[in-house]
């Protein structure tokens, strides 16, 4: 045994394979057997066991630490390698008899490396077979077995044929070649040198996915692979080299449809106009074109403080601002920062005003609205709030507002122009509020604070946004309902503000039920930029702290539905049920008897049904509705103050 170990060691270590080893292998018959069984994997274990008995030898061939896969059966050579690491002294003197094993070993190793490789086998008769090397009879005479072998060149009696006459045969699944016919076996591109692992790896690469770990297992992944530059084999259509260089110029040079048709006869049915709008090149196109250009220039030339729009336009952000990607693109806004994304200050102002005036707090819609985008623009808010509304009434209102939304952007933009920056808007807002009513400004501020204090991280603008849409719908409702005032049909918040005005004026006429709403003076201030969208007839909303809280009931009630006491209700769970669905459903004519529980209040049960305004004048009702709706809103939770269910006003609302 010890001799065996030595022999192996010496064999593998000794570069001169044929150096005589002074060991007579004759006495160790099994040594040969072990060598021979290199291919016969079954017996490897026994070999391993034998090896393990060597004194001083590692029981496991793990000393080399090579990361190759250790299957249950390991190549003899693996073990041998570990043995090699032991500096055992090999008696290199051997007799010829030992050569048998030594020399065989080398061949065995080579043969093993060929396993799985595509080889060419030349036979005595000149035939050449190509197949996957499967096995070789190492014991005897090196007959080999190929898998999926196919005849490449027939050296048989038929002699050599030209290719065109050569009839192919299906490859043989298993092809055995006896040694006496075997002239040579050629394995192309087989990297023998250091490890068989690279062979395996390369073959894996060719066909299958390689995981990183399997790649890294091999020491030398692509060692010595000859790289050849790719030469087109002549099938490549010419003129493709620079197809992508200049898309405009070269684009003319390559028409894929033409080429396809000529090569394959495929007629293209591509019609560009399906995918785009055909330009009207008529008489007045030049005019229209110029106009379009002008507008485009205007839009693009606008100053914008919106980071994203500026970026799209290629405007380089000032480097000195400490703005990293997170602050640029994150959807989460800091609590105390104002939205400076070009949010329309009108929205701000309206929202805040609305909020403060009516319920001194967050608008209902805000609560509902998920903490979505910062109020980019009015449309955005509206859009954002829409999904959050699951109340049909709201939806309707939203949809209505949508219809008119187109006008909004223009308005917004102009407003943006006037007062870029939310800070300005804020101040303007404040101004306006002040103009309107000193109380309101105060309430505005407190509203804002309360808003933020309530943990609503969105700025007041956002809140306003939500509310704005509500307002807007209300406004639209107003417009729809009452052509009377000839209010400008601006669907923008200005309309809302108008409605707000009317709501504002409600407290005034609260006692008087439905007086004609006169255009409030405050309208002027608010509408300074809103122009004609306000309802000139709307009365200014004056907060009436003594107004009774609104309770929607079937009976009409003349008295004011104002909430009692303060407008700022902390989350009041009790009165929730009283809440008329007004806030959102203000301007909504359609009746939702069963939909009084506004989405704002989950689980809110509304005992009373909302009665659509029957014979009452729509307009005042609208305003009243609005007012009513606004009042009971607490700041944050948007819960109404305790309403009297029998509020006639309420009935008139819907």
């Amino acid at each position: 045994m010890s001799l065996l170990a030595l022999d192996l060691y010496s064999i593998l270590r000794d570069p001169l394979f044929f150096r005589v080893i002074g060991v007579d292998f004759g006495g160790f018959g099994d040594s040969d057997g072990r060598f021979r069984v290199l291919i016969h994997w079954n017996t490897l274990n026994s070999f391993e066991a034998a090896m393990n008995m060597q004194p001083g030898l590692p029981s496991k061939a793990s000393t080399n630490g090579s990361p190759y896969i250790r299957g249950e059966r390991e190549g003899v050579l693996n073990k041998a390698k570990s043995i090699k690491s032991h500096p055992a002294n090999a008696a290199s003197n051997g007799e010829a008899g030992s050569l048998k094993g030594d020399s065989r070993d080398g061949l065995v190793y080579l043969t093993t490396c060929k396993i799985g490789h595509l080889v060419e086998v030349h036979l005595k008769n000149g035939s050449v077979y190509s197949g996957i090397f499967h096995a070789a009879d190492v014991e005897k005479d090196f007959g080999i077995i190929l898998k999926m072998a196919s005849l490449i060149k027939d050296g048989g009696l038929r002699g050599h044929k030209t290719r065109s006459e050569f009839v192919r045969k299906p490859p043989s699944k298993t092809f055995i070649i006896p040694a006496d016919e075997l002239v040579q076996v050629i394995a192309k591109d087989l990297s023998i040198s250091s490890d068989g692992m690279s062979n395996a790896v390369q073959s894996e690469k060719s066909g299958e996915l390689l995981t990183d770990s399997s790649i890294s297992k091999s020491f030398h992944t692509d060692q010595g692979r000859e790289l050849k530059p790719w030469i087109p084999d002549g099938d490549v259509p010419q003129g493709l080299d620079n197809v992508f260089d200049d898309p405009w110029k070269r684009g003319r040079g390559w028409d894929q449809f033409k080429v396809n048709e000529s090569l394959f006869g495929v007629k293209s049915t591509f019609d560009e106009e399906i995918y785009t709008t055909k330009l009207d090149r008529g008489i007045r196109t030049r005019e229209m074109e110029e106009r379009a250009q002008r507008i485009a220039r205007e839009i693009e030339g606008e100053n914008t403080r919106d980071l994203h729009v500026a970026e799209e336009r290629g405007f380089q952000l000032n480097e000195k601002f400490d703005i990293d990607e997170e602050s640029k693109y994150s959807a989460v806004l800091p609590v105390d920062a104002f939205d400076d994304s070009g949010f329309d200050e009108e929205d701000d102002e309206l929202l805040d005003t609305c909020n403060d005036e009516t319920f001194g707090g967050s608008s209902t819609s805000t609560v509902q609205k998920p903490a979505s985008s910062s109020g980019k623009g009015y449309e955005e808010l509206r859009a954002a709030s829409q999904p959050s509304r699951n109340n049909t009434s709201v939806d309707q209102s939203c949809s209505i507002s949508d219809d008119h939304a187109q006008h909004l952007p223009s308005e917004q933009r102009s407003k943006d122009f006037n007062a870029p920056g939310s800070s300005i808007s804020e101040s303007q807002l404040g101004e306006r509020r002040n103009k309107n009513n000193p109380e309101f400004s105060h309430s505005n501020r407190s509203a804002e604070e309360s808003v933020s204090g309530h943990g609503d991280t969105k700025e007041g603008a956002k809140l306003g946004g939500g509310g704005t849409s509500a307002w807007k719908t209300v406004a639209e409702k107003e417009r729809q309902v009452s052509e009377v005032s000839g209010k400008p049909k601006s669907e923008s918040f200005t309309g809302q503000s108008a409605s707000r005005r009317s709501s504002e004026s409600r407290p005034g006429p609260s006692t008087s039920s439905r007086p004609g709403l006169s255009p409030s003076s405050s309208i002027g201030s608010l509408s300074s930029s809103e122009k004609s969208t306000l309802n000139p007839n709307a009365k200014e909303f004056k907060l009436n702290p003594n107004a009774k809280s609104f309770k929607p009931t079937a009976a009409a009630r003349p008295q004011s539905p104002m909430a009692d006491a303060s407008f700022y209700y902390p989350a009041a769970p009790a009165p929730v049920q009283q809440m008329p669905g007004m806030p959102l459903g203000y301007g909504i004519q359609p009746q939702y008897p069963g939909q009084q529980q506004m989405i704002y209040y989950p689980g809110h049960q509304h005992p009373q049904a909302f009665y659509p305004p029957n014979a009452q004048p729509q307009f005042p009702q609208q305003q009243q509705q609005m007012m009513m709706g606004r009042q009971p809103r607490p700041q944050m939770v948007y819960m109404p103050p305790p309403y009297q269910p029998d509020n006639p006003y309420n009935q008139g609302r819907e």
Partner: protein
């Protein structure tokens, strides 16, 4: 020890200067007419096989040659032996996987080979398969499962399929034939 041009001979393993010593470089001529040069990597006289590796710089074609069939042998020199370096080990599992993969691929390729068809037919098949889904059906090429190209695989041997498909196959066939003629067999 330099049986230049020696005829086929069995070599006895000797202790020194033996034939096919590892590291020897030979130019070998085989009975099949094949000639090559290589460095001896291993040799076993019993089966009389020589494993040789081409000289560095050439393509890596490892050969196992039955020395019995060597007709001509000329000793060219000697290089250092460690062609089989000390770290020779094989990963059997990897080899098995490699073989399995190769077999799979070969089977897939076999599908594409026509049985009993001429090489020309096969090359037409290959050309068609570049852009169209084709499969063999006996000796007919079935394109897109509906258009059939029979021997002798000319434009008028295209049958079946819709008009559009038929025309398309015809066109492709013509072009491929033209190309094949251009490039020879």
């Amino acid at each position: 020890m330099d049986p230049a041009g020696a005829s086929v001979a069995n070599v006895i393993g000797g202790s020194e200067g033996e034939k096919f010593a590892k590291g020897n470089i030979y130019s070998v001529k085989l009975i099949t007419g094949d000639e090559f040069r290589g460095i001896v990597m291993a040799y076993d006289p019993i089966p009389n096989f020589v494993g040789s590796k081409p000289r560095p710089g050439h393509s890596k074609n490892t050969r196992m040659v039955n020395a019995s069939f060597i007709t001509g042998l000329s000793y060219l020199g000697k290089t250092e032996e460690p062609l089989l370096r000390d770290s020779c080990w094989v990963n059997l599992d990897g080899l098995r996987a490699k073989e399995a993969l190769a077999v799979r691929q070969a089977e897939a390729d076999a599908e594409r080979m026509g049985v009993g068809v001429t090489a020309e037919a096969q090359s037409i098949f290959d050309a068609l398969s570049k852009t169209l889904p084709v499969q063999w059906e006996k000796s007919d090429i079935l394109v897109m499962k509906e258009v059939r190209v029979r021997s002798p695989y000319l434009s008028d041997s295209v049958f079946g399929g819709t008009d559009a498909a038929n025309n398309r196959v015809k066109k492709v066939l013509e072009l491929e034939r033209r190309r094949l003629q251009l490039f020879g067999t």
